[in-house]
Structures are given as C-alpha cells and as structure tokens.
C-alpha cells in the first residue's frame, strides 16, 4: 500500500479526466457550502497532499453508520474510500481479517503516529471492565484509547459514539459511554444521527482532508455547517406550522394534505441536523417528507425523551409515568379543591365568630 500517492494520481490512473476531477471539486465545494473559489483549494489539496490514513473502529453499535456511509452520492463513497482516503483499517469492509487486520492497526499506529484520523462508530461499554464489547480479544475501550493516543483527530460517527444512543438508554446495563468521556486531549468531532446523513459523513471527511483542520464546531462539538439549524428551521412543512395546520391523526385528511406533524410528536423543533436540506438517498426524501415525524435521532438522550408520538415527554417519578399536563392538571385539581375546602371552612369560622368577637373588638377599640 503506497501512502505517498495523492488522490489526483489515483483517479487519473483510474481513467477519470481532469475535467471530471474539476467538476467533482466544484460539487464538493458546493455541498460544503463554500464559495466557488474553494473548489481550487480542494483540487490543490487533492493533487498535492498525500492521502490521509484513516482507521475506522467499531464498538457497541448496529453498523448503520457504515450502511449510511457507503450510500453517499456526493462525493461517491467509492471515491472517498478508494481514492481520497487511505482507509487502512475498517473491520466491516476490509478484506483482511483476524491477525492480519490487527497487524494493520499496529502498523498504522506506528508508521502514521500523529497523522491518521480515527473514525469511531459505536461506543465502549465500561461495566465489567469493558467485557460487554470484546474486539480482537480485548475490551474495545482499551483498543480505542490506544488508537486514540496516536490520532491527529477523532471523528465520532453517529449518535452511539457522540451521545450513547440506544445502548446508553435507561437503565444502560452495560454502561455504554460516548467516546468523548473516555478519550482526553484529542480534538473530537461529533457527527450524530442514527445514522448520520451519508453526504454529511463524506463531506466532513473531505473538509478535514482539504483544509487539514476540523470544521468549525458548535458548543457540543458538531460541525456547524450541518448541525447549526434545526430540522424545523428548514422544514418544507414549516408554513403549515406557522399557519396553525396540523396532522391530528395518522390517517386523517390533514395527513394526506401534508400538514405539520408537530402535534404527532415531531421532534423537528428540537433536532439539529441537515435532513430537511440535504435529505436522504441522493436528496429523494427524509422522514417528514414521507409522512412520519422526526424522532430526534441525532440528539442526546433521544431514546429517553419519548414517547416518539407525543408532543409531551413522559416524566418518570416515584415509579409513576405521566406527562407535564397530567401532573399539572392533577395538582391544580388538588390545590383548587383544597382552596375551595379551605374557603368554606374560613367562611364557617367567620360566621361563627361574628357577633361576640365584633363587640369584643369594639370594646377594645373604645377603650
């Protein structure tokens, strides 16, 4: 495996014309939301910079991030995996297996120390010393920390690596932990989603490769270019929200008309992701467009913020499950009843004391 090869060398050898290459750079710049001039920077980087080695590790997860990644259309994942990057290790799609695969991992750690990007899909469970996820004969958390130590930057793919996702939902029996809590002192870029949008994944990789730095991140460590707005902000059903037109039931006339899914529990207003702009499957659709509400899969703790089909979240206290309105109505009833009772008792007390007390009071006032 020659590491000095550039992306440009690679695709030229594959028979891609200079013209197509320029087009690709232009498209990538556009998908990253960059000015046209950046296309030249991208092409310059791809022509001169050696391909960046990437190690892609899998912890406790469902591999939906990989499934998503291999469906990227702009840029095509074929280009990313085979040409732009040097994907040295990815246990899901690599040819090598067993000891051979482990060797590659060690080689990368030694030969490219401080240069490679560590992409992590899934998270390490920490209970029982990490025994719930054994990778290559030892706990995943150990392997992760070892590889993180030599990485230039770390990408947390998906909600598992970023937040914990379903395996970290209550009661979290394996103590699945997001990677930023077990890795210290390395820049971590979170690309949450279950899975993240393929184009977002490849664009993040392209950005890092092109500019040799992480994109601008928000407070929670997500790239601002894809996660600075809510699904709701760019949702094509937003006009129905502002107008006050909502789907009331899944099979009603309003659902057929494509009204806002807010009342059905849509998490669009609290979910930061690019689904409503980039969409899925080459921009074909996204959940809300196909008539289902957003469940907020790219948000922290989204599994515990259910039910998915209710506007109000369940609140668990003392083993009782209710929502804010039920709790509010119940306490308002109790307090209202108490007030009525108390008022009645007060009236009785006042009626009883009246004649005698009043004369007594007058006496004191006269005296």
């Amino acid at each position: 495996m020659s590491q000095t090869q550039t992306f440009y060398d690679m695709i030229r050898r594959q028979g891609v014309t200079r013209r197509s290459f320029a087009k690709f750079c232009g498209l990538t710049a556009a998908s990253l939301g960059l000015a046209p001039a950046y296309a030249q920077q991208i092409s310059h980087a791809l022509e001169t910079r050696p391909r960046t080695p990437v190690v892609w590790m899998h912890g406790l997860e469902c591999t939906c991030c990989t499934e998503s990644f291999i469906r990227s259309a702009h840029p095509l994942v074929k280009d990313v995996v085979l040409s732009m990057l040097s994907l040295d290790y990815d246990d899901t799609i690599m040819a090598a297996a067993g000891h051979q695969a482990e060797e590659i991992l060690q080689e990368t750690l030694e030969n490219h120390h401080g240069e490679y990007i560590l992409a992590v899909e899934g998270n390490p469970p920490l209970n029982e010393d990490g025994m719930y996820c054994i990778d290559g004969g030892r706990p995943f958390v150990e392997k992760l920390q070892e590889m993180a130590e030599g990485a230039k930057a770390i990408i947390a793919w998906g909600s598992c690596a970023s937040w914990g996702c379903v395996q970290a939902a209550k009661p979290n029996p394996t103590n699945a932990t997001p990677i930023d809590r077990v890795i210290r002192g390395k820049p971590i870029i979170k690309v949450p989603g279950c899975p993240p949008i393929p184009e977002v994944m490849t664009a993040v990789v392209t950005y890092i490769l092109t500019f040799d730095r992480l994109p601008e991140l928000d407070r929670q460590g997500r790239p601002k270019m894809f996660y600075s707005q809510r699904i709701h902000d760019k949702c094509y059903r937003r006009p129905h929200f502002d107008a006050g037109q909502f789907v009331e039931q899944w099979d009603d006339e309003n659902a057929r008309k494509g009204y806002c899914l807010y009342k059905m529990g849509c998490r669009g207003p609290t979910t930061y992701n690019a689904c409503s702009t980039i969409r899925w499957n080459e921009g074909v659709s996204f959940p809300i467009q196909s008539g289902h509400n957003c469940i907020g899969c790219s948000e922290d703790n989204f599994w515990d913020a259910g039910p998915f089909y209710e506007r109000l979240q369940n609140i668990n206290a003392f083993g009782v499950e209710a929502n804010a309105d039920k709790i509010g109505a119940a306490t308002a009833g109790i307090v209202g009843g108490s007030i009525a009772l108390h008022a009645a008792l007060s009236a009785v007390k006042r009626a009883r004391k009246s004649p005698a007390e009043d004369t007594k009071q007058k006496e004191t006032e006269n005296a």
């Binding site: 600075s228 006009p239 006050g244 609290t270 907020g296 922290d300 309105d325 509010g328 209202g336 007390k349």
Partner: protein, 231 residues
C-alpha cells in the same frame, strides 16, 4: 424602617408606584404567557384554507415571545427595585431566612391557615409564609422560566445570535437535548399557575379575615391596619 416591637397601626405606605405597576403588568403577562404557552404545547384545531393565507400559530408564538420579553425585562426591573427599594420590596428576592422570628412568623401563619390560631399577626410587607411561597414559586420559578424560555427562543434566533450567547449554555445543563427544555418550561408553567391560584385565594381571604388590607395595598400602595393592638 419599622422595628418588630413597634405597634403597627393606621395606614402606612408599603408598595411604591413602580412595584405596583410591575405587579399588574406581571399579572397580565403571566396570563398571556400561560394561555399562549398552553396553545403552543397543545395547538388549537387546524385552521382551514391555504397555509399562505393563515398565520395563527405564528401570531400565538409572537404574542408569547413578546409577553416573554415583557416579563423578563419586568423581572430585571423588579430585581433593580429590590436593590434600591425598602425591606419589603427586597423580601421576595432576599428573604430573612437567617432570622429566627421569620420562621416563627411562618409557623404562626401556617397555624393561622390551619385554624389553630385565633388571629394572624400584622405585617407591613409580606408575611413570612407568603415570602417563602414567593421566593420559591415565583422568584426561583421565574429564573428557571427565563432561562429555559430564553434558550428555546435562542434556538429559533440561531447559533450566532446574542440569545444563544446569553442562553445557549442552558442547553448543556439539561442534557444537550433541547426537548427537555420544553418539558421543564411546561412544568414551570404549572408551578407558577399553582402559585397564582394560592396567591389570589390567600389575598382575598386575608383581605376579609386578616388584620390588615391586602388587595387595596397593591392598588394604592397604602396598607391599613384594622386594629391598634400589638402583633
């Protein structure tokens, strides 16, 4: 400032014009916020016609946000009044929790409400029990509402807005999922509504049964004591 041993009698000035104006503006704002807020949580039935012809939910949200700004600015104005005002005006921000007589008074008031005392004590400002209620169910609840409300407003204003600069950190406080902000804000509304229920009831009850005027004090600023006896 009156000492505790002085006999409270006649009519005394207790609430300044600013405090009274704040109180009634605040009451109105709470009413507006609760009604519009309830509709934001549980929207009214869908309006017919094209989306481009309607803006009902937009108006509801606008009124909510506008009233939210009013109550927030009012809160800071009230805090300023507490800073420069008299002891009674400061009470709901800075209760006398450290004084023994405060707790003694609160217990007495509680016993008065439980029909265990023949008559309540006289106070120029709030009685200790109401001060406790105000401090927790109004002042602290209001801070929670302003922070969660501000953080939710910041979401719409955008990541580079001053609202995010001011309130963005609240998101991380509730677990990096802003859906929890909605839940907290919703529960907060009920806390304040329960406070309002108790507040109005006790104000009316004490207007008729206590030894001092209540409602008229918040209207005119003057409190009249109904007898000349000691506390």
């Amino acid at each position: 400032m009156s000492t505790a041993h002085e006999v409270k009698t006649g009519t005394v000035k207790v609430y300044s014009a600013g405090i009274r104006a704040w109180h009634w503006i605040n009451a109105l704002a709470i009413l507006v916020l609760a009604v519009t807020g309830f509709f934001i949580g549980a929207p009214p039935p869908s309006v017919p016609g094209e989306a481009s012809d309607n803006f009902l939910f937009g108006y509801i949200r606008f009124v909510h946000f506008a009233a939210g700004y009013v109550i927030t600015i009012g809160f800071f104005a009230r805090a300023y009044m507490a800073l420069i005002g008299n002891h009674h005006e400061r009470a709901i921000f800075w209760p006398d929790f450290h004084k023994k007589e405060f707790w003694d008074g609160a217990l007495h008031q509680l016993r008065w409400y439980a029909f265990l005392e023949k008559e309540p004590r006289k106070y120029v400002g709030h009685n200790p029990l109401s001060t406790i209620a105000m401090f927790f169910a109004y002042t602290l609840a209001m801070i929670v509402m302003i922070l969660t409300g501000g953080a939710m407003y910041a979401e719409g204003a955008g990541m580079d807005s001053w609202q995010t600069f001011l309130f963005g950190w609240v998101e991380s406080l509730v677990g990096d999922n802003t859906f929890f902000l909605h839940t907290i804000h919703h529960v907060g509304m009920y806390v304040i509504l329960l406070f309002v229920m108790v507040h109005i009831y006790t104000a009316i009850r004490e207007e008729t049964m206590s030894r001092q005027t209540m409602i008229s004090a918040m209207m005119t600023g003057d409190r009249t004591f109904r007898d000349d006896r000691e506390d």
